[in-house]
């Protein structure tokens, strides 16, 4: 057998980074957050996460098959969409609505644009935005964390029959006899009653809220690990958080009794999860180094503006969807100068 000398141009050393490897790493980083959510809210969240992930994968499989793109389930991206979506929903969210959200997210947010790599917006957030508009009551019904017997019984609304109204949870919550449960998340309490939950609670996540958004600390650790693995661009979460904190700061300095402190803004609601795992969506974010900073700041500023002045309690979802929408424009504005070209002149055509 003759020896073959391969002559190629650089780079000669390549790391085997493939789409499914990146996606598997992200799933791995999400698992601790999912586990914490299950520990905190019980069996209902486990079923919720399984439903969203299953529905997302099934939808992906169906549309990839129907459009003749082969089997794209193996790239793990639908699993991430399903997991992320499940983590953004309230713990007692009816399973049938969660399946609708996953279907709409993959079908409308991804398959319609041509699948992975072509989606304009984060599919998980598209799904969540749809159910937010379709079922506004169910998606703002919160249940307390660390309910006794949470591993033995489900939250009643979880097993609502398809197309039916969620089973009311008020009696169930009253039966739990939990001290200090006001039915509101820290964000809502801050917005409407101006009571700021202590930072230790919001940071560690021993509070009510969507399934996977509560523990800022855990999300921070998982996100940092992912950034260290070079699986996400650290500039995006950093600039989202900077944008949010810097916008909240002047208001807080003016009137600390009315406006939330910057660290409360960072640790409450879905900001941390969204900054690390959703804004950093590789497909839907801009591609230039300067671009991602503008994109992140835009999302951070918009989130706080919606939270402080909008009708909604949480604005990070719409902020990211809008950020995704202007993403391609930002990429276009921030194209780096071609080496050797004169400012203001078009580079010569190749």
């Amino acid at each position: 057998m003759p020896k073959i000398i391969e002559i190629r141009t650089s780079p000669h050393l390549k790391r085997a980074v493939s789409v499914d490897r990146i996606m598997r790493t992200v799933v791995l980083a999400l698992l601790p957050i999912a586990a914490f959510a299950v520990w905190q809210f019980g069996l209902s969240v486990l079923l919720l996460l399984l439903t969203t992930t299953g529905a997302a994968v099934a939808t992906e499989w169906f549309f990839a098959r129907a459009s003749g793109r082969g089997n794209t389930v193996a790239d793990w991206s639908a699993v991430i969409t399903g997991l992320l979506l499940g983590l953004t929903l309230p713990p007692g969210f009816p399973l049938w609505m969660a399946a609708v959200a996953a279907f709409v997210g993959i079908a409308l947010g991804k398959a319609l644009f041509g699948g992975l790599g072509y989606n304009v917006m984060n599919p998980a957030l598209v799904g969540r935005a749809f159910v937010q508009a379709a079922f506004p009551v169910a998606i703002t019904t919160w249940t307390p964390a660390f309910a006794p017997g949470r591993f033995a019984e489900l939250i009643p609304s979880t097993l609502t029959l398809p197309f039916m109204q969620p089973i009311p949870v008020a009696d169930w919550i009253a039966g739990l006899n939990m001290d200090g449960w006001s039915g509101a998340t820290p964000l809502a309490m801050q917005k409407f009653q101006h009571i700021e939950t202590p930072i230790t609670e919001t940071f560690t996540g021993l509070i009510a809220g969507s399934a996977g958004e509560t523990s800022a600390l855990l999300i921070l650790i998982c996100g940092l690990w992912l950034a260290w693995q070079r699986m996400l661009d650290w500039r995006i979460p950093a600039s989202v958080m900077a944008g949010a904190a810097l916008t909240a700061l002047p208001f807080w300095l003016m009137d600390p009794s009315l406006y939330p402190s910057p660290w409360f803004v960072l640790c409450s609601g879905g900001l941390m999860l969204a900054a690390w795992f959703m804004a950093s969506d590789m497909v839907a974010s801009p591609v230039t180094a300067r671009g991602v900073i503008i994109y992140g700041l835009f999302i951070g500023v918009l989130t706080v503006v919606i939270r402080l002045f909008g009708g909604l309690v949480e604005g990070v979802m719409y902020a990211i969807l809008l950020g995704n929408a202007i993403g391609p424009l930002i990429s276009d504005w921030t194209q780096p100068r071609v080496y050797g070209s004169v400012k203001g002149k078009q580079p010569p055509a190749h």
Partner: protein, 233 residues
């Protein structure tokens, strides 16, 4: 086909190329209903199709009002086609259409004030519905009275059919009812978004997706069949 270029009395402008009358066939009716469906194929009249289809009764009211205006204005335009000078035809058509829209406006107000309130400004806006002006310009101004009436009826019913296919889906998902009759138990969870404007876009998009998918599949089968025949020959 009956050639009748002597119909044109206006001596100042030459007869247009397509100014030939067509006989009355089943196709005159079916074309507007299906092959050239105003909403699903020609993509005309999008504004009422999206705005007033949040319930079946609104869709039906809007569709039938538009059909009425289509038939009446088409008939009048066709009847007067040899008297209307080409130069001012658009203005004349608008006057004719506006007359019948006013009639419909008062009619609905007299029949059902509730429906009138639900449809709101969209009844008056039938004036600017491009289906009607389009039919007047492309068909009624060139054809005899009877084919015009049949064609307008087909187009109007096609528009009504399209509005109904949006309206029923939106009402069913949004309220769990059709024509106000509850089909499910009281516990039904309405999809609020389907009643809101985005629901119109979603349902319209879904129908267009469905029709295009069917058309593509049909075309693919046709080419496959002709391919087989060509190979056999």
């Amino acid at each position: 086909m009956a050639e009748a270029s002597n119909q044109s009395t206006s001596t100042s402008s030459p007869a247009p190329l397509f100014d030939r009358e067509e006989p009355l066939t089943a196709d005159t009716f079916i074309r507007g209903l299906w092959e050239e469906n105003p909403v699903f194929v020609m993509m005309l009249g999008m504004c009422p199709a999206l705005a007033v289809t949040n319930s079946t009764i609104n869709a039906l009211g809007m569709g039938l009002s538009t059909t009425f205006v289509l038939i009446c204005s088409g008939a009048l335009v066709s009847w007067l086609r040899n008297w209307i000078p080409k130069q001012v035809r658009i203005a004349s058509y608008i006057v004719i259409i506006a007359t019948f829209v006013t009639v419909v406006d008062y009619l609905i107000q007299a029949i059902s004030l509730e429906l009138y309130a639900a449809l709101g400004a969209f009844i008056q806006l039938i004036v600017v519905n491009c289906i009607i002006l389009g039919r007047a310009e492309a068909y009624a101004s060139k054809q005899r009275l009877l084919p015009t009436i049949v064609n307008s009826l087909g187009t109007g019913l096609g528009f009504t059919l399209a509005l109904l296919s949006l309206g029923t889906v939106r009402e069913l998902l949004g309220n769990g009812s059709i024509l106000g009759v509850q089909l499910f138990s009281d516990n039904f969870q309405g999809w609020v978004i389907m009643i809101l404007p985005p629901g119109g876009f979603f349902v319209l998009g879904a129908w267009l997706l469905f029709f295009n998918w069917r058309r593509l599949r049909k075309e693919r089968r046709m080419t496959e069949q002709t391919g087989v025949i060509a190979n056999a020959v």
